[in-house]
């Protein structure tokens, strides 16, 4: 079975808030759900599939489904691979729709890490009995230094430079200046990235994504339903997912899970990286983008630094416009999980609804890529390829 053109993204909504001290996480989920259903032209009563991950408060989907008032559910999926989970949710929703298990799937994400004071340098959240924790926690792994280990190795192995990584932030900032909701709207230069404080060698402050409150939601539907709605139809063409870890101690930081999830998605979609007109690439850190671009095949392994340099990711300037909303680096990283905003901006591009300054002309084929967890230890990777019908 394939999911190619078996399901469509009919609704997409990004919460405009970036700081929500007076709202609850559940409320943010609900506001995102309302926004995405309204965008699709559907109602609560149409939803028969619900997808959420670890940011949703409560036991799996139980508490949020009840809070949202979802009474027609016949398919539930709480797959959690960190920030990449929501791309997997879209894929799983397409699979469920293709299998006849649901017709209208709702995916929600929301969180308030900014209001709650949880940043990327705080110790990662772990649960009791997580088997790797006793072997790693004594060494104070935090989110940023585990990504930094991947960056340091990439530099050692391939000669990648801090200047090249900085170009990724420069491109994101060039886009964010046109997004009125973006948390950071000032354009930045390579020099400014390099002059920002060193957090964990070789990652500077401006190599790191923002910490923001907010959320997003998506509505995935059967093609027959999408055809009846008023919005442009966005087909799902292919998807891939995997988990990469430490390989029993044969640690290799030179590649990410995108090297596995990407080819699966491209094969199902029947397209190649050269066909992609717009790419949303998970940007928890600049190195995350660079490694995923290589692993997806947009350039050869080790050539990511040269590929991203000189504005190649800037819409209207380079060959591969990326994260035209400003991405996690500048716009939004709700719940410290950026997967859903990657899909949302790809949908905007395919609908022709991105900001005119960053809209890719006649954008008919887009990719969204997520990495969730840690590039330096264990992460889930998900790739999604979409087309405008």
């Amino acid at each position: 079975m394939t999911i190619k053109r078996k399901a469509c993204i009919a609704g997409a909504y990004e919460h405009p808030t970036r700081k929500a001290p007076d709202k609850t996480v559940a409320q943010l989920h609900a506001e995102c759900a309302r926004g995405a259903l309204a965008d699709a032209g559907l109602t609560l009563q149409d939803v028969d599939g619900y997808f959420c991950a670890g940011d949703a408060p409560g036991l799996g989907a139980n508490n949020m489904a009840d809070y949202l008032g979802l009474t027609k559910l016949r398919h539930i999926d709480t797959t959690d691979t960190g920030g990449s989970a929501y791309l997997i949710h879209v894929s799983h929703a397409a699979q469920a729709i293709a299998a006849g298990k649901c017709d209208v799937a709702l995916v929600t994400l929301a969180g308030r890490p900014r209001s709650e004071g949880s940043s990327g340098v705080a110790p990662r959240l772990v649960t009791a009995n997580t088997p790797d924790v006793p072997w790693e926690m004594p060494y104070s792994p935090v989110i940023v230094n585990m990504y930094a280990l991947a960056a340091a190795r990439h530099m050692h192995e391939y000669g990648t430079t801090s200047e090249q990584l900085a170009w990724i932030k420069v491109a994101a900032a060039a886009h964010a200046q046109h997004n009125p909701n973006a948390m950071l709207r000032e354009p930045v230069t390579v020099e400014e990235v390099l002059a920002s404080p060193m957090i964990s060698d070789p990652l500077h402050k401006l190599d790191c994504c923002v910490v923001s409150d907010g959320g997003g939601a998506l509505v995935v539907v059967r093609p027959e339903i999408a055809a009846r709605l008023k919005r442009p139809v966005v087909n799902i063409l292919g998807a891939g997912e995997t988990i990469k870890g430490q390989l029993g101690g044969h640690v290799d930081l030179t590649w990410s899970g995108a090297a596995i999830s990407g080819p699966i998605a491209f094969k199902e979609a029947g397209v190649s990286p050269a066909d992609i007109q717009y790419a949303s690439i998970y940007d928890s850190f600049t190195i995350t983008v660079l490694m995923q671009l290589e692993d997806l095949g947009f350039c050869k392994k080790g050539e990511g630094g040269r590929f991203v340099a000189d504005g190649n990711l800037i819409s209207g300037v380079g060959t591969l416009p990326f994260n035209t909303d400003g991405g996690g680096l500048c716009n939004n990283h709700p719940a410290n999980r950026g997967g859903i905003t990657k899909v949302i901006e790809a949908v905007r591009q395919l609908r022709g609804e991105a900001h005119p300054k960053v809209q890719v002309p006649d954008c008919t084929l887009a990719l969204a890529q997520g990495t969730g967890g840690s590039l330096g230890s264990r992460h889930g990777s998900a790739t999604l390829i979409m087309e405008r019908q």
Binding site: P134, W135, E136, V142, A148, L203, G248, H250
Partner: protein, 132 residues
Amino acid sequence: MTTPYTERPLAPVTVDAATEHFWTQAKEGLLCTRRCTSCGEVHWYPRALCPFCMGDTEWCSLSGLGTIYSVSVTRRAGPIAYAIAYVALDEGITLLTNIVDCDFDDLKIGQRVEVTFKPAEGGAMVPMFKPA
């Protein structure tokens, strides 16, 4: 520029069925992991079942010698800078650790290192690495 190593407090370690022997050995100044009794491969971190073939495993000792696979000096995640690293042991497994007892600014990937042990709250000795 120099960034000298500074001792930082280490929280008590987790002692359970998976780790107890390891911490006992560490107090003796010994580093160990587990080897598969079926396929013979050593792995890290230690598990009761081999991650390569699901065979049973047994404890085995390690030389404590290796090279730095990757290293990052974490400067802004707390009051004390520290060096987190992956060290590739001569036995062919790579483990997450800290590099200590040196000027962090001199650390390089590929550098030879040897195990040393630092005390945690509660009395456990935590294996870390210093330039060899």
